[in-house]
């Protein structure tokens, strides 16, 4: 008896799969949710064939730094209902709409980059509503009391056990460090830290010691994703020196610096309007250190909302803009700030931020070290990715755009001097292959046999923005979910839903008694109520 034929053949497309060094016209075969090798028998026919002749076939997009669910997102949604009323322009769509919007854009994996340990249960329940995209989240640990205690006490094994236990308990994928030590200092009413060597009272640690210890712990545990770092002094003029110091402090360890655009500012602190680009010096450092990666946090002009675990940044923005401020401190770990914001083309500060983001893309020699992000929704919506891609692929478009911006921008950023234009292959790197590799998602961002059959098929054209805004087909787990902009109904014949991906860690059982003793003294919830069981997500569904 003949074996069952593969479910799907995507025929004759230009397959761009940078992870395999592939950019060629060929077929792609799919079965049981995975990419499979082409049948050796040339007479084998797939159950279904998609004719992709003249089209571009890429792995599904991977958004490695976004804000998708959890308490900050629901708070922002409730806080700004008017701005979120239209799902096409909402900053914080409800999860079921968010999932569809990602799919419609050709993205099949998205990561929420900031979940507080105590907020993980909500994140797991809420993320179940995302529908047919895979997701994961990073747990916040750089202002965590137990973490800082162990760093002070020079107890690396305990720290390792705690990080391992935390990932397992919260079902997180990786570790995020937000403004290390700075949030704790601010919550003590003593203001933010300003340098890597400021001390955090009550813990006798510094941002430097937190960063180094956490990065080392993440490496020791061999977690798939390196420490995900939101540097100190986000958004402040002159913060580039802190960013460079952070890079140097992490030398020799794996690290990913996120929304790097917000950390690349020259200028002086007493004059917020003085910001200017310091990308060249920072990019030069990244270019010479292969272990460092970044995502951009590109700013997009228009209304959006800032949401961050960096509590002091929320307060700074609220005071600067005189806008309503939503702030929520979370015990033993972190803060949260939500402030509406509008990026205006005629603002020199905002135009400089916009230019700095693009400068980063054009200054990094190896595209595998940089990922596309808007830090959704902080810099703007992920729905603007096609617009950014178009700007990266066309220098004339960039130069034309700059003419709309304040003339003084030329003295703040060297963007117009960049003639580089991204190729389609480089776009495939920064939108899927590189973020998947940086995250350590072995079956994402690639189309080799064994990879998840998350595939986006584009109809090329002269209008690059349109090409990327409206993929011809989007497949998730081997099923066509978007066909010419139309979402196929969930359930019925295509019941697949995405999964929450978690790091598989095995905490040292010998260290649990110490963690438990601390937890029971410190937390306002019981020890047994902290870990999230696997059934929780199913309950959410």
């Amino acid at each position: 008896m003949n074996p069952r034929p593969p479910e799907l053949r995507i025929r004759g497309g230009r397959v761009i799969d940078p992870a395999e060094g592939c950019d060629e016209i060929r077929d792609l075969w799919i079965d049981a949710g995975k990419v499979v090798a082409a049948p050796t028998d040339p007479d084998v026919k797939a159950t279904r064939t998609i004719d992709a002749s003249g089209m571009v076939v890429m792995p599904g997009g991977v958004d490695m730094h976004s804000h998708l669910f959890g308490s900050k997102v629901t708070a922002a949604r409730s806080f700004l209902p008017r701005q979120n009323a239209n799902p096409q322009t909402a900053y914080n769509p409800i999860p079921s709409e968010l999932g569809l919007l990602y799919l419609g854009l050709g993205y099949t994996t998205a990561i929420d980059a900031a979940i507080a340990p105590l907020g993980a249960r909500q994140a797991v329940l809420e993320s179940a509503e995302l529908g047919a995209i895979d997701r994961a989240f990073l747990v916040l640990l750089a202002n965590n009391h137990y973490v800082m205690d162990q760093i002070r006490d020079r107890e690396p094994e305990r720290l390792k056990a705690y990080v391992s236990w935390m990932l397992k308990s919260t079902r997180a994928w990786g570790v995020k460090a937000v403004n290390p030590g700075g949030v704790e200092r601010w919550k003590q009413g003593k203001g933010n830290v300003s340098s890597l060597d400021d001390r955090v009272d009550g813990f006798d640690v510094t941002p430097r010691s937190i960063l180094q210890s956490l990065a080392e712990t993440v490496d020791d545990l061999k977690l798939p994703h390196p420490l995900h770092v939101h540097c100190n002094n986000l958004g402040l003029p002159g913060n580039w020196s802190t960013t460079l110091a952070t890079m140097k402090a992490l030398e020799g360890r794996r690290a990913h610096l996120t929304h790097i655009q917000f950390h690349s500012y020259g200028g002086t602190l007493d004059k917020p309007t003085s910001i200017r680009s310091k990308v060249p010096i920072l990019a030069e450092y990244v270019n010479s250190h292969a272990g460092l990666t970044v995502d951009v946090g590109q700013v997009i002009f228009g209304d959006t909302v800032s949401m961050t675990a960096d509590g002091p940044v929320g307060e700074y923005l609220a005071e600067l803009t005189h806008r309503p401020w939503l702030s929520h401190d979370i015990e033993l770990e972190t803060g949260c700030g939500v402030v509406p914001i509008r990026y205006e083309e005629q603002s020199l500060v905002h135009a400089t931020q916009w230019a700095i983001g693009l400068e980063w893309f054009l200054s990094i020699a190896n595209p595998w070290q940089i990922a596309l992000s808007t830090d959704h929704p902080n810099g703007g919506s992920f729905l603007a990715y096609p617009q950014i891609i178009a700007l990266l692929m066309n220098k004339e478009l960039r130069k034309d755009y700059c003419k709309r911006l304040p003339a003084k921008l030329a003295s703040r950023s060297a963007l117009v001097d960049h003639d580089r234009e991204y190729t389609l292959s480089e776009i495939a790197v920064v939108t899927r292959a590189a973020p998947a590799r940086i995250l350590g998602l072995a079956t994402k961002g690639r189309l080799s046999p064994g990879a998840d059959a998350d595939v986006t098929i584009y109809q090329p054209g002269s209008d690059i923005e349109r090409m990327f805004a409206r993929p011809r087909y989007v497949l998730f787990a081997g099923k066509v979910r978007i066909d010419d902009g139309i979402a196929l109904a969930e359930g019925g014949a295509q019941p697949d839903r995405g999964v929450l991906m978690s790091a598989a860690t095995a905490p040292d059982p010998g260290a649990l008694a110490h963690i438990r003793d601390w937890f029971e003294r410190s937390s306002t919830i019981a020890w047994r109520n902290f870990p999230i069981a696997e059934e929780t997500e199913e309950a959410g569904e």
Partner: protein, 426 residues
């Protein structure tokens, strides 16, 4: 069900009040509570009443019936009634809220609120500076109880979170803290205060405004203030001074049944002002309901709202706001009342309506059959945390898993709602 040694449970989550203590050890024999530790009269009453099971599982048209018949009858009522309202979502687990959201999508039922909407509107208007209860325990050296009395209403609030709680930066508990109580009269909490004031309710807004002005160092017409607030004006000056001396502060308050947006906004603005120079958080005291969890879950679920204006309906959805007040029942011909509070509301409504049977009522609650004669269909469910499980949110946004501590006898509200929605076309 929890780890149970015979009838002993550990880490029971008590929903007897807004503290939602999740560290309770209890044992019971049948429907009698033998032990409840740490001791708490409110919690013990809650467990004891939740353990009691009404002898009848369901009633239809005043007569006892089996569950299957009751569900069938309820489905018929839903099919026959074009204008449907669901109330009591605030008393349901997050899992049940999800089932209710799906039910409203399928049946085009509307959602009625048991509580005021003023808080959500005020937060959307001015923002909110808040935190989890552990922040207060760990840091707050000044705590204000504004028009709330946790010693009476949440017996373990003081020891777990506030007045007496020992935290990392408040190592000596009570002696490291200054406690301020402002209420309508002397309360149990006021007896534990360093500074306590009694303010008549009609002067509350005036008092809040005075404190806010003093905290902001605004020029104040003191004669006018004294004329309005009497001797309390100067005491409020002492309050303002204590607030300004705080290293870290917390402001607890209770939402009123008939809340005004202006009152809530004034509190939110005052606490934001207090953040200049120190950290200061505002926290609603909460009750034993899942009001915060229901509102939050509704804001992430797909719930289409019925409103002539699409944008307004979307906004209501995103804030977790409800369609109508539960007091506004006349426009509906069927009410699905879930939970004891909603059932009691409908019982009182029915009693006030005399023999009139409009709107018709499907009651789903532990106590539903107790007054089942008043309703068209009444179905008994297990009390959440006792004979049914789910997740609830504390008033500070922390979600707790709530397991059942006694054997389940009835389907949970979530399962029942799913049954009611079965076989219906979208």
């Amino acid at each position: 069900m929890l780890e149970a040694e015979a009838n002993r449970t550990t880490d029971l989550v008590c929903l007897g009040c807004g503290a939602m203590c999740d560290d309770i050890v209890a044992s019971f024999e049948g429907e009698r509570v033998a032990a409840f530790e740490p001791a708490c009269a409110l919690g013990r009453d809650w467990l004891e009443s939740g353990l009691k099971v009404e002898p009848i599982a369901a009633m239809a048209e005043g007569e006892p019936t089996d569950l299957t018949t009751a569900v069938r009858k309820a489905r018929t009522l839903i099919a026959e009634s074009p204008r449907r309202l669901v109330i009591g979502v605030e008393d349901c687990s997050i899992e049940a809220v999800r089932a209710i959201a799906a039910f409203t999508e399928l049946t085009r039922a509307r959602l009625g609120s048991l509580s005021a909407e003023a808080v959500a509107r005020a937060v959307a208007s001015v923002g909110q500076v808040s935190g989890t209860l552990g922040e207060v325990k760990d840091r707050s050296d000044v705590i204000v109880f504004w028009m709330c009395d946790p010693i009476a209403t949440q017996p373990r609030h003081a020891s777990r979170f506030s007045i007496d709680a020992v935290g990392r930066f408040v190592r000596n508990g009570r002696s490291d803290r200054r406690i301020i109580v402002v209420d309508r009269s002397e309360t149990e909490t006021a007896k534990r205060a360093d500074l306590a004031l009694a303010i008549p309710p009609e002067l509350e807004l005036e008092a809040l405004a005075a404190v806010r002005a003093m905290v902001r160092d605004c020029a104040i017409d003191r004669d006018r203030g004294r004329a309005k607030l009497g001797a309390n004006f100067d005491r409020l000056g002492e309050v303002a001074e204590l607030l300004k001396q705080a290293r870290h502060g917390a402001w607890f308050w209770s939402e009123r049944e008939t809340e005004s947006e202006e009152r809530v906004e004034t509190i939110l603005r005052l606490v934001r002002d207090l953040n200049r120079g120190r950290r200061f958080l505002e926290l609603p005291l909460g009750d034993g309901s899942n009001s915060a969890g229901a509102r939050t879950a509704l804001s992430w679920l797909r719930v289409r709202r019925r409103d002539d204006q699409v944008d307004r309906a979307r906004q209501a959805c995103l804030t977790g706001a409800f369609d109508v007040s539960a007091g506004d029942l006349a426009q509906f011909d069927l009410i699905v009342a879930i939970g004891d509070r909603a059932v009691e509301l409908m019982r009182a409504h029915r009693a006030s309506q005399g023999s009139g049977k409009t709107p018709r009522v499907i009651a789903i609650a532990p106590s539903a059959v107790r007054c089942g004669g008043s309703f068209d269909v009444a179905i008994r469910t297990g009390a959440l945390g006792i004979r049914s499980s789910g997740s609830v949110m504390r008033c500070d946004g922390v979600i707790l898993p709530v397991p059942a501590c006694a054997p389940a006898i009835d389907p949970s509200p979530a399962v029942l709602i799913e049954k009611l929605a079965e076989d219906r076309d979208p």
